[in-house]
Amino acid sequence: MPSDHDLLFRTLADPSRRAIFERLCRDGEQTVGALTAQAGISQPAVSKHLGVLKQAGLVRDRHEGRQTHYRAQLSALAPLIDWTSKMTGFWERRFDALEDLLKRMDQ
């Protein structure tokens, strides 16, 4: 999986792409036109970013007539969130054990 992780991180390292992705997370499905209106960059540039996001599995497209609608694929973020949520669980359990030890130290 390392190469998949790498692709994901590189894809989201670009601020414009991140902004587009955030917008899709926040506001749900959007057309390229609607995204362009907010992005402050040209439509071809937005389309190019969407292509890269799609390749990384971060967005999915749906064609309807002449319009293409894009939506975020939150499940693709799992590798990013994985590390922090795993370690948080680990430390919560260790803190439970620490509190248990502190109680025994009184006796």
Binding site: M1, P2, H5, D6, F9, R10, L12, A13, P15, R18, E22, C25, R26, L74, L77, L80, I81, W83, T84, S85, M87, T88, W91, E92, R94, F95, A97, L98, E99, D100, L101, L102, M105
Partner: protein, 143 residues
């Protein structure tokens, strides 16, 4: 270790504990007590001391003491070497103890990268932490 805050991924766990800082400090710094709640170890509370934490699962963490301020702050590296980068980790763990009316607020922050993340995150100067925090909220709501 010297990465700007925006470049690190970190985990923070905080808890109010009904015991004084001095007592918690002992549990954080005496090897037989550390072994009781965290892992087997050859820890010594002096800056520059290198030690290992040995997990029940057989894993060994490479650590070095970075900061010791008795009853207040303890920091050490928490590195795990592994051929599979998905398991390897370079990080720093910092414990901060703050006295409260009822005892102590204990804060643990673990900041770091997996090696492949470090490379990938290097290009992004700012905003990662806020971005990830926001996304975690989004994902939590989506569940």
């Amino acid at each position: 270790m010297t990465a700007a805050p925006g470049e690190t991924l970190s985990v923070v766990v905080e808890r109010d504990i009904p015991h004084p800082p001095e007592k918690i400090w002992r549990a954080l710094t005496q090897p037989h007590l550390i072994a009781d709640w965290l892992m087997q170890n050859d820890f010594s509370p002096s800056v520059g001391h290198r030690f290992n934490l040995r997990g029940d699962w057989g894993g060994v963490l490479d650590c070095e003491v970075l900061e010791v301020e008795p009853h207040k702050t303890l920091a050490y590296t928490w590195n795990f070497q592994h051929d599979d980068p998905a398991y390897a980790l370079n990080s720093v763990v910092t414990f901060t103890l703050t006295p409260t009316a009822a005892g102590t607020r204990l804060r643990m922050e673990q900041a770091g990268f997996r090696p492949e993340q470090k490379q990938a995150f290097g290009g992004a100067k700012a905003g990662w932490q806020q971005f990830l925090a926001k996304l975690e909220e989004v994902v939590a709501r989506a569940d």
